[in-house]
C-alpha cells in the first residue's frame, strides 16, 4: 500500500512541477493522472493488482475527500448574497442543462459512430 501511495504522490509531484515549469493550464493532479495513465499504457496489460487495489480503495471513497471543502462552502454561502437568485439558478439549471445536453449528445454520437453499446 505504501508503494502504491508513493507512486501516486510521485506522479502528482511530477504533475505539479510540470504544470508550473511549463505554465500548463491544468492542475498538478490532473497532469499526474495523465502521466500515470501513459505510464501504465506503455507498460501494457492491466495495472499491477496490488497497485490497482490501493487505487480502487481510494476511489471508492472519492466523495469523502470533497467533504471538508463542501463544509467550507456551506459556511461561505454569504459570498452568494451578491446575486443569490442568478447564481442559484445558474448552478442548478445550468449544471442540469449541461448534463442533459452533454449526455444526450454523447449518446447520440456514440450511436451514430456505431460503437458497441455499453448500456
Amino acid at each position: 500500500m505504501i508503494a502504491a501511495l508513493t507512486l501516486l504522490l510521485a506522479c502528482q509531484l511530477a504533475g505539479e512541477v510540470a504544470a508550473r515549469a511549463l505554465h500548463l493550464p491544468l492542475p498538478g493532479p490532473v497532469l499526474g493522472m495523465i502521466l500515470l495513465a501513459v505510464g501504465l499504457l506503455a507498460r501494457g496489460g492491466d495495472p499491477p493488482a496490488e497497485f490497482a487495489a490501493a487505487a480502487d480503495g481510494l476511489l471508492r471513497n472519492l466523495g469523502l475527500l470533497f467533504v471538508p471543502a463542501a463544509v467550507g462552502v456551506v459556511l461561505h454561502l454569504d459570498l452568494l448574497a451578491r446575486a443569490a437568485a442568478p447564481i442559484a439558478l445558474a448552478v442548478l439549471v445550468g449544471t442540469l442543462a449541461a448534463i442533459g445536453v452533454t449526455g444526450w449528445v454523447t449518446a447520440w454520437l456514440l450511436r451514430a459512430q456505431g460503437g458497441r453499446d455499453a448500456a
Binding site: P47, G63, V91, I99
Partner: protein, 240 residues
C-alpha cells in the same frame, strides 16, 4: 462546564483527531443513508456528510478554520486520488479509444454549452459582469475554475463556492435527469456528469459503474483543458 470537561473540550477543539473522526463518521452516515435510500442519487453522501458537519460546527461553535486544521488530511488525499483515476482509465482504455471521435465532438459541445448556459442564466437574472465571469468556468475542477475566473475578471472565491455547489447539484440530480431523458449508455452518462460536475460527479459515477467512472474521469480532465484553452478566448471576443 466542569473544569476537566472544559480542558477536554479545549483539547478536542484544537486537535486534528476530533475533526478527522467526525469527518469520517459523517461520511459513513452519508453512505448509510445513501444505501438506505436504495442508492438514490438524490441522497448524495457528500451532501449528507457536509450538512451533518455544518450542523455540528454550528451547534458546537467551532470555527471552520479550526475544523479544517484536522480535516485537511482528508482534503489532501484529493490529489493522489485524482492521480489514481488513471487506473479505471487504463482498464477502460479500449472502450475509451473506440469512442474517441464521438467524445471529441461531445467535449466541445458540452464544454461550450456548460459555460454559455451558466452565463446566459446569470445574465437573464441580472448578475453583474464579475459574477458572470465567476460563473462561466463552474463546470471545471476547482483549481482550474479559479484560475480562469481570475483571468477573465471574476471573483475566484465565489467561483470556488459555485464549483462545489455545481458538483453536488450535478451528482445529486444529474443521474435522475439522464434517466428521464432515457440516456442509458454508461459511457454517455459518465461523460456528461464528469464534464459538468467534475470530481464530485465523477465520485458518484465511479461508485455506480466502472465504465461510467472512467468516462467521467476522462471528461473531467478534458473539460478542464478545453475550458482553460477556449473560455478566455471566447470571453475576450463575446464580452469585450
Amino acid at each position: 462546564m466542569r473544569p476537566e470537561l472544559a480542558e477536554i473540550w479545549v483539547y478536542l477543539a484544537a486537535s486534528p483527531l476530533a475533526a478527522l473522526t467526525v469527518t469520517l463518521a459523517a461520511w459513513l452516515a452519508g453512505l448509510r443513508l445513501h444505501a438506505a435510500a436504495r442508492g438514490s442519487a438524490l441522497v448524495n453522501p457528500v451532501l449528507v456528510a457536509a450538512l451533518l458537519l455544518v450542523a455540528l460546527l454550528f451547534v458546537s461553535g467551532i470555527e471552520y478554520r479550526a475544523y479544517f486544521e484536522g480535516a485537511q488530511f482528508v482534503h489532501f488525499l484529493l490529489g493522489p486520488a485524482t492521480v489514481a483515476l488513471a487506473v479505471p482509465l487504463v482498464r477502460q482504455w479500449r472502450l475509451l479509444r473506440a469512442s474517441g471521435p464521438a467524445l471529441a465532438v461531445a467535449l466541445v459541445c458540452g464544454s461550450v454549452f456548460a459555460s454559455v448556459s451558466a452565463v446566459a442564466i446569470g445574465w437573464a437574472f441580472g448578475a453583474d459582469r464579475a459574477v458572470l465571469a465567476s460563473l462561466a468556468p463552474k463546470a471545471t475542477t476547482t483549481p482550474v475554475a479559479m484560475g480562469i475566473a481570475e483571468q477573465i475578471g471574476g471573483i475566484p472565491s465565489l467561483t470556488a463556492v459555485v464549483v462545489i455547489l455545481s458538483g453536488i447539484a450535478g451528482a445529486a440530480l444529474g443521474p435522475i435527469l439522464l434517466a428521464l431523458l432515457q440516456v442509458r449508455d454508461w459511457r454517455a452518462r459518465g461523460f456528461a456528469v464528469g464534464l459538468a460536475a467534475h470530481g464530485i460527479g465523477t465520485a458518484r459515477a465511479i461508485s455506480v459503474n466502472e465504465t461510467a467512472g472512467a468516462f467521467a474521469a476522462l471528461a473531467m480532465g478534458l473539460n478542464a483543458l478545453a475550458t482553460a484553452l477556449l473560455l478566455p478566448l471566447v470571453w475576450a471576443l463575446a464580452m469585450p
